[in-house]
């Protein structure tokens, strides 16, 4: 049962209908195969791009869809139900466009954004390093001033779309005290991606190291002022976390749908197992977790759309939704029993995919820290 959504405009209704059709007919049928083969479905992103889904929350004048986050996130949720590689990919792409869209000059936006939102290119976000995960400010990659531009040297870690992205939004140190933000073309000389990490889940999505070996970056690719990179990175992450919350709800919804469908069909002791209270209550708790997680991210999104502060709410949404996804996917495996533990059913894949949601774009421990600091400030 797809989620029954309350949408306030015809274009949002039609957009969600289009998204579901693409998810059902073009994405879901091949997800298991792509994940097993560790194949990145680049063509799916071309189709999303052609359909106008790679720039939804950005301004129309730059090729975006001018949609509120409330609508964009529900599109993201639907895509995530069909494939987490696609859902997380879209979320990362959207976050990679954020610094330019919000901190770039008018000239930079007019020059660069249409290609990034137009659907033919894919972005990646390069912040983390081996020793700078939660402690992002400890990053060491350097961008040295050389003539009109910069020369970048260092290694980034855990880069979603590493090696397949067309552009990288990079945070690098421009002095001992300063971090700056750059938009780097994927074809830049001296830029190379390492081999994909061997991950527990999300195996269709390449995660790599990114090596900068004296890579030249033009001065007009600096986003915002020198030294404002960490602030830009954290601001982008606030919105990115909402994306991950929506991905988590999509995954949890897929796991719930699978478990309910199975429990209706599977008979034991002469009756469908969904009629046993032990399972009925388990499924009810799963549904409650999905619904409450969705409500939480939608509330944060509406605050963002209304121009209110939403940092604390975004962290709450990320924490609640990803913990819900972990619980719901784990319980889905339980509902399917032995079948759930095999790779013949997607339950075990959902469970593996859920785990990373609690880790990336700020671990759930970091989310608690963010929430706690908001509380302490008041």
């Amino acid at each position: 049962m797809p989620a029954h959504r309350l949408l306030t405009t015809t274009e949002a209704t039609d957009l969600l209908a289009l998204t579901r059709e693409i998810a059902r007919d073009e994405i879901a049928p091949t997800t298991a195969e792509h994940e097993a083969a560790e194949h990145f479905p680049r063509d799916t992103f071309r189709l999303l791009g052609k359909s106008g889904l790679l720039g939804l929350p950005y301004a129309e004048e730059h090729g975006g869809g001018a949609q509120p986050y409330e609508v964009y996130l529900q599109v993201l949720e639907e895509l995530s139900s069909a494939s987490m590689t696609v859902g997380v990919g879209l979320s990362v792409h959207t976050m990679s466009c954020f610094p330019l869209a919000h901190f770039g000059t008018d000239e930079q936006r007019a020059r660069l954004l249409p290609d990034m939102l137009g659907g033919d290119t894919l972005g990646a976000y390069a912040l983390s390093e081996a020793h700078a995960g939660s402690d992002a400010a400890a990053l060491r990659t350097r961008a040295e001033r050389t003539g009109d531009g910069y020369t970048v040297t260092g290694t980034k870690c855990w880069i979603t779309h590493g090696g397949v992205a067309d552009f990288y939004t990079l945070m690098a140190r421009t002095s001992d005290d300063d971090i700056s933000c750059f938009l780097v073309d994927g074809a830049t000389e001296g830029l190379s991606a390492g081999p994909p990490e061997h991950k527990m889940g999300l195996t269709g999505s390449p995660t790599t190291e990114l090596h900068f070996d004296g890579a030249p970056v033009a001065g007009d690719r600096l986003i915002g002022a020198e030294g404002s990179g960490l602030k830009i990175a954290l601001t982008a992450l606030n919105s990115g976390r909402l994306g991950i919350a929506a991905c988590a709800v999509g995954l949890a919804q897929a796991a719930l749908d699978l478990a309910v469908d199975y429990a209706r069909q599977r008979h034991q002791f002469g009756q469908p197992i969904i009629t046993f209270q032990g399972l009925e209550f388990l499924l009810a708790d799963m549904a409650a977790a999905v619904h409450s997680a969705r409500a939480t991210y939608l509330d944060a999104a509406r605050r963002r759309d209304a121009g209110m502060s939403f940092g604390q709410e975004a962290s709450v949404a990320k924490l609640v939704a990803t913990d819900a996804a972990m619980k719901v996917t784990t319980d889905a495996v339980q509902v399917l029993g032995g079948a759930g533990y095999t790779r013949d059913f997607p339950a075990e894949r959902y469970m593996r995919e859920a785990k990373v949601l609690q880790i990336f774009e700020g671990t759930n421990q970091i989310q608690r820290m963010v929430i706690g600091r908001h509380l302490a400030q008041v």
Partner: protein
């Protein structure tokens, strides 16, 4: 050239479809409603012809108010405008009455060169409406097209039926019905969705197309459904274990079913 595409909103084949207990007409509330898939192909074919020849594509639809969702889908794919015949009096209309209404709606449009329809809908499946509409318009009908070519003066199709494939040609204006083999329809884009909101849709009543309410609808329908029953559940098939006699057993089974 000006092309009309006949479109219908049908219950999604992915959902459970039912007839209403009261009058055996479609229970529209019981299932999700979508633009019939064959109509997406008809719209696609019209858009391809428009892209090659220029002109306008007008969608003509008969159906309740909710059918405007199906119309919007066709518009978001790229059709230019729509005519929606919507009237309580149409409820329960059969194929003949539907064809009359659609032909009358087409008659309200100026200079139509080509009408494209799906060969049959996924709900009613009478497969008769396109031919009836052509007859009422007095135009040539080219049905079951798996390929369509037009130069703006004439239209030629590859007609595929159980009897084989024939090339059929006619001067315009003409009506073509297409099969599911004709093309792969495009997805709308978000730009198309936004553009569709601003495209003209004229909603017409039965009287607006020049018919009277007692000519259409269940009460005066030439054909009526008098009873209906759900399809029986599938039964397990016969399993033949081949112990040297498998071939004989299969032939016996097939001849028992009068299939050989």
């Amino acid at each position: 050239m000006n092309i009309v595409v006949l479109v219908k909103q049908v219950p999604d084949t992915w959902s459970e479809r039912k007839l209403s207990d009261a009058d055996h007409t479609l229970d529209r509330a019981s299932a999700d409603a979508v633009l019939d898939e064959i109509n997406e192909r008809a719209v696609e074919e019209a858009l391809l012809a428009k892209e090659a020849q220029g002109g306008e594509v007008t969608v003509v639809c008969m159906g309740p108010e909710r059918a405007n969702e199906a119309i919007r889908k066709a518009l978001s794919m790229g059709a230019d405008s729509a005519v929606h015949v919507s009237d309580e009096a149409l409820h329960g209309s059969d194929a003949v009455q539907t064809a009359r209404t659609l032909a009358a709606a087409i008659g309200t449009l100026e200079s139509v060169d080509l009408v494209i329809a799906g060969n049959e809908s996924t709900d009613g499946r009478a497969g008769a409406v396109p031919a009836m509409v052509a007859e009422l318009l007095g135009w040539p009908q080219l049905t079951y097209a798996r390929k369509l070519d037009t130069d703006g003066q004439s239209v030629s199709i590859e007609r595929e039926s159980d009897a084989g494939v024939a090339t059929v040609e006619a001067n315009l204006p003409a009506l073509v019905s297409v099969t599911e083999k004709i093309n792969e329809p495009r997805y709308p884009s978000f730009k198309g969705i936004m553009a569709a909101k601003k495209k003209p849709v004229s909603t017409l009543s039965v009287a607006d197309v020049g018919l009277s309410a007692d000519e259409v609808g269940l009460g005066s329908a030439p054909t009526q459904v008098v009873s209906s029953a759900p399809a029986p559940p599938k039964e397990a098939g016969v399993k033949v274990t081949d112990e040297g006699e498998g071939g004989v057993q299969i032939v016996e089974f097939l001849s028992g079913q009068k299939l050989v």
